[in-house]
Amino acid sequence: MNDIEQTLRDASRDARRVAASAIDLDADLAATLQRPTSERGDGSESSSAGHRVLVVSAAAALIVFLIGGMLLIARSESGVDPAGPVSSSPTSPSNVAVVPSTAPATPLEPLLPSATTAPVPQDSVPPDTTATPDVESVTVPVSYLDPPPLYSPVPFATIERPASADEGFQFAVGDGIIVVTGDDTNVHVLDTVTGTTTRRQLAVRVALPVFGPGNVLYGVSYTPPSSDAVSQMPDAAIVAQPIRDEPIEVVDSTSVDANTYLEPPLGTLVAGPDGIYDVERARGRVTDYVGSETFDVPVPPLIDREPTDGTIVRSGDQTAQWTLNVDQHPNAAVPFVGERPAAPGPNGTTRVVRYIGPRLEAEPVDFGTPTNPVIADLQPGTGQWWTLPDDWTVVESSTRGTLLVRDTGDQFELAWFEPDN
């Protein structure tokens, strides 16, 4: 039990003690039974402090309303979920009587996290690249001559390196778990709550792993051609494998063109509002989710990139645009698989990774090893570049977080990119 665990348990005992000392069961029961016939709001008027707030705030609300700003202020700054508040009207006067009904007056819908915006349905057709007048556009430059501030990752966990990771590894972040895949079907699954790692075996090996809702892992699976047709390309499919199942099985498969997924950059597949999107090659939705009834996690908007200019990024809902003027070193490495696409981040952010330093090799090489990674943290109307230490790599980014990894040889150190903290 660590310090925070003990602190929370101590604080909980304190809260229960305070509550117990405030309760008079008989009197409170009697008061409760009288409530259906009495006027009441949310209850805050019963305390003197709450009553004072209500009186003052009612006057304040009236003034604000008269100047026409009440609604805008409340909606734009309160953090109230625009897709559906818990109450029917959180900005309504607090002294409205609540009449007992046959159903709870408060809807019982699941709560959306406060920092999560409602999913925006995406068209699978590449969006019009012509900027519309209401697009919020901003230029966010970065130069190797003046590198941005250094972001210092704070490791939160380690995960054992799969034996097959030498041939390549990829990460996927789900709800409460992080999966690292190697070059076979064996994967390591980190429970981010307990910090424990378990070894699991996928039904089929996948590339570009990404979690959809319900901790279903999606990714590209290749089926080798039969021996009598060696000249054929392997078949490819995007398969779905629920990690919670034992054994893990493929529950859905969508055929895709194998040529499309030859050497794709990391981040090509992204979880979207209604399925998995390919934001790099197919540039649209490539498969639906299985079990839509488990669609209970926040999903990111689709981040789009101008097909003709990799430095322009648009938010999935087409309301924000960033021009990334990336000034790389003249001898910067050329990525073999192309630049990584922009990715969604948590809390409505968009993240873009680039390398601005000179390639590691002194002699001329075809591609080279990149240096000086930088990451853009983009929000509507603004953006900020950060330098990452050379030994840290951005391995995945989604609405669940942007995951950084340092390979120590026998294990991976994990850290979140959280520049606001």
């Binding site: 310090d3 309760i23 949310d42 778990i177």
Partner: protein, 167 residues
């Protein structure tokens, strides 16, 4: 007392005596005000009384209570935010009723730095002593989301406490 399972066939009074203290404790830990927590818990129980046929027939009556209480808490938190920001804008002054400092409990002060859902997840887990599955049911979210929220909340709180201790 906390996280206690309701036996079938309980009367309203018995349900009240079993569940009301836990509802108040969660309210205290989220809001910091025992008076308001009692008021919201009484409102929850009053609604249960008004819908007793439904609640009594439920497999898990206490889950019904928790969801109503949680929604009332969220209502209250959001309205308080709106009111305070409106006050600040109109009068250009700090909030009349500080949301964090001077709270009745250490838990409320700690949770004040968290988003509302994480507050509820932590309060239900630690104060109400519910399992992940019960917290998920109370909030209408997936168990995985509960675990993720708990993990994020612990990290935020740990970081916040470390910063506080350095000052």
């Amino acid at each position: 007392m906390h996280g206690v399972k309701v036996m079938a066939g309980l009367s309203f009074e018995e349900l009240f005596r079993e569940q009301y203290p836990a509802l108040v404790a969660v309210g205290v830990s989220v809001l910091g005000s025992a008076d308001t927590a009692r008021d919201l818990a009484q409102e929850t129980m009053a609604r249960a009384h008004a819908n007793w046929a439904t609640v009594a027939a439920a497999d898990v009556p206490e889950a019904w209570l928790r969801r109503v209480m949680n929604n009332l808490l969220v209502d209250h938190l959001r309205r308080r935010q709106v009111e305070e920001r409106a006050l600040q804008r109109v009068a250009n002054r700090p909030p009349v009723e500080p949301m964090v400092h001077g709270s009745a409990t250490q838990m409320a002060e700690m949770l004040a730095v968290l988003p509302e859902r994480q507050r509820l997840v932590v309060a239900l887990t630690y104060v109400a002593d519910l399992s992940v599955a019960d917290v998920a049911a109370a909030l209408g979210i997936a168990p995985g989301t509960v675990k993720a929220s708990l993990w994020k909340a612990r990290r935020t709180l740990e970081k916040h406490l470390n910063e506080e201790s350095r000052r």
